[in-house]
Amino acid sequence: MTRQETTERALEGIRVLEYCDMVAGPYCGKLLADLGAEVIKVEEPPAGDRARRRGPFPNDIPHPEKSGLFLYVNTNKLGVTLNVRTATGRQIFRRLAQEVDVLIEDRPPGQMKAWGFDYEELSALNRQLIMASLTPFGQSGPYRDYRCYTLNLHHCSGHSTQFFIAKYLEPGHEPLPPGGYVGEYDGGLNTAIAIVAALFGRIAIGEGQQIDISKHETLLGLERVDVSRFADSSGASARIGMPVGGLMECKDGYVILIMPQDHQWKGLVEAMGNPEWAQREEYATELSRTQHTDEIQPRVAEWVSQFEKEELYHLAQSHNVPLAPVRSPADVFHWQQPQQRGFFAEIEHPQAGRLSYPTVSYKFSETPWRAERAAPLLGEHNEEVYCRRLSYSPQDLARLAAAGIV
């Protein structure tokens, strides 16, 4: 065994039951599982998590065990199937909830109660249980039951270009959201924070509790600066002008340049080879530069346009100028920095094969990340969980399967 395989992990010993779909809830489970918690993911037969039916798939051929989305957000978990629409399924769910420290669920508010799984009932069986509910708008308020996909979520929570960077909005064009599922991942991360906090709470008060997380509030929290600015609308002052920099085009793509501090401007002037035009006294301070953006910006843009983005990145950074290439996922994958830090790691999956996965951005000196296992196959751990832990016999399991319960 290598040293790494013998090290402990930060959340070892924590047992989690995850009853979630798609990105947000499963990402929360993944964050805990990746740090060593034992996460049992419950999926509804026959099709399981909807993420299994969302791509990307290898060669675009849909396959429930090969969704890149599912594979990424479900690493290091055990997977069981369970149909809680049956009485026996609900009984089994209760037994599972009795065995764990944490339950994460993302059903529409009221659904868990209808099945007899609300916090009151489950905590009566397990006083130590921490139950986290993660939904678009939380468990109360007029939007509680509203439907909300990622698109709606981003735009109604302050993450639209409409919200505060109207200056980037080309006139006549629609507001834009951030790319991908980022707001969903945010919800998962925020729930994971609350769960570890509640583990501390349990030490303090001796029992578990209920956690209500709203994705909408999570995203408002991430825009807390601008939400505060607009909430006290007097603070919503317009800038004197646009600062020099921002998104700029170079030979093979784009870079972003942000340099609020004067020493950073000096670094840029150096990097440009101290051109005559940049020596003007009015350009020496941030405020006065911003008043002359119209003059400075085209000069800098012309200089930027002569370079390739990675070349310019190293040149600018060697002069302490905060400039970065706009990297595609491929560029990031081949970038030396995360490669050398081991950010991407290969994981073997019985159906999808050996693939590189992004891992974690935090390197722990004592309890490093490791891939214990790839995402579970649908029902892969039914026997392990139902027979070995809940003591059902193999015959019981066969009957449960025949009855469509697992």
Binding site: A10, L35, G55, P56, N59, D60, G68, Y72, F137, G138, P142, L151, H155, C156, G158, Q162, I165, E174, L176, P177, P178, G179, G180, Y181, D186, V196, A197, A198, F200, E207, Q209, D212, E217, L220, L222, E223, V225, V227, S228, F230, S233, I256, P260, Q317, A324, R327, P329, A330, D331, Q336, Q337, P338, Q340, L355, V360, S361, Y362, K363, S365, T367
Partner: protein, 404 residues
Amino acid sequence: MAKKAPLEGIRVLDFTWAWAGPQASLILALLGAEVIKVESRRRLDHSRLRSLVAGPLAGPDESFIFNTLNLNKLSVTLNLSQPRAVEIAKALAQISDVVMENMRPGVMDRLGLGYEALRALKPDIVMLSSSAVGGSGPERLYTGYAPTFAAMGGLAYITGRPGGRPAPLMGAIDLRVGSTGAFAVLAALYYHQRTGKGQYIDLSSAEAVSALMGDAFMDYTMNGRVQERMGNLDQVMAPHGCYRCRAESEWVTIAVGSEEEWQSLCRVLGDQRLTEDERFADGYSRRQNQDDLDEIVGEWTAGRSAQEVMQSLQSAGVAAMPVYDGPSLAQDAQVEARGILTEVEHPAMGKKRVVGPMWRLSKTPAAIRRHGPLIGEDNDYVLGQLLGMSQEEMARLVDEQVIY
């Protein structure tokens, strides 16, 4: 009796500044940790001075940005260019559980406050260093801000209109990095709780961004394909877009993800062009003909307010939400009903509204207990009460600009 906060009894010594680091310690402070922010007039936290978006601010104690990012924290002013100030910081580290910082890699070491030095004083310390691209690797000294983290990590590339330019992302990126750091610290603290062992955490902001778009990397590692900008479109869903409403600047989003939702949408719109046209007969056809579909949906929204669209579609079970600009968001009914905005009394700025805790814990709630500190506001408590310094000594250190 007031309820206990979950992190009561945990003390954090906080050397972070700007946005990302302070978000990480803010989360711990809202959850009840005692966070002591170490700062100095010699090099003020730039969130006390300026904003990339709003420009320069009135003064270091009048920053709405600093206030909202540093709620519940204590401020002690130590000029770390002076050896005596470093000694005081070490004494504070000795009585803390966590140390956090987001200076350029190497700076804490040069100050004598690196992990090895602090571990020698307090063997079980948990320390987080948060930097642009991580504290190891060939580019560890490279610097950046939220928009460059988003660019380096891949998220800016996949953000924007199809075929258009990438769209810069702003401050929320820093707060995502901070949330990631807070989670890592909490996990390390939990491990400490169980084993008594501390550890060092090295966080890369660019990698923190990449982790929030893992599926896009899987597309690349599986298929060698680079995910491109999609704007408001979805790979499979249609309608899935942002539609103009009656007022010029008002928009609403509508997304339909199932046949059942499509039927509901058709019922509400009552437009035969949707129900009688082959081109919209199933999910595949709707995605193929989404431009024509969007035109019909857009005609309907154009005669209504975003609120009307939301209410009529949501009551039929269709996902429709307004696109909020800054001021309208603060007046939203859900924001109001859940009390998301909380008023905080600030000694220099008066009443300020801020976003409350992002978690509702039923038995050990997170809470806002205090405004973001004035600079040096808690010197007496931290240096006098916690370290036992006399008033005379503190006065002398102020004169010597150690406390500064």
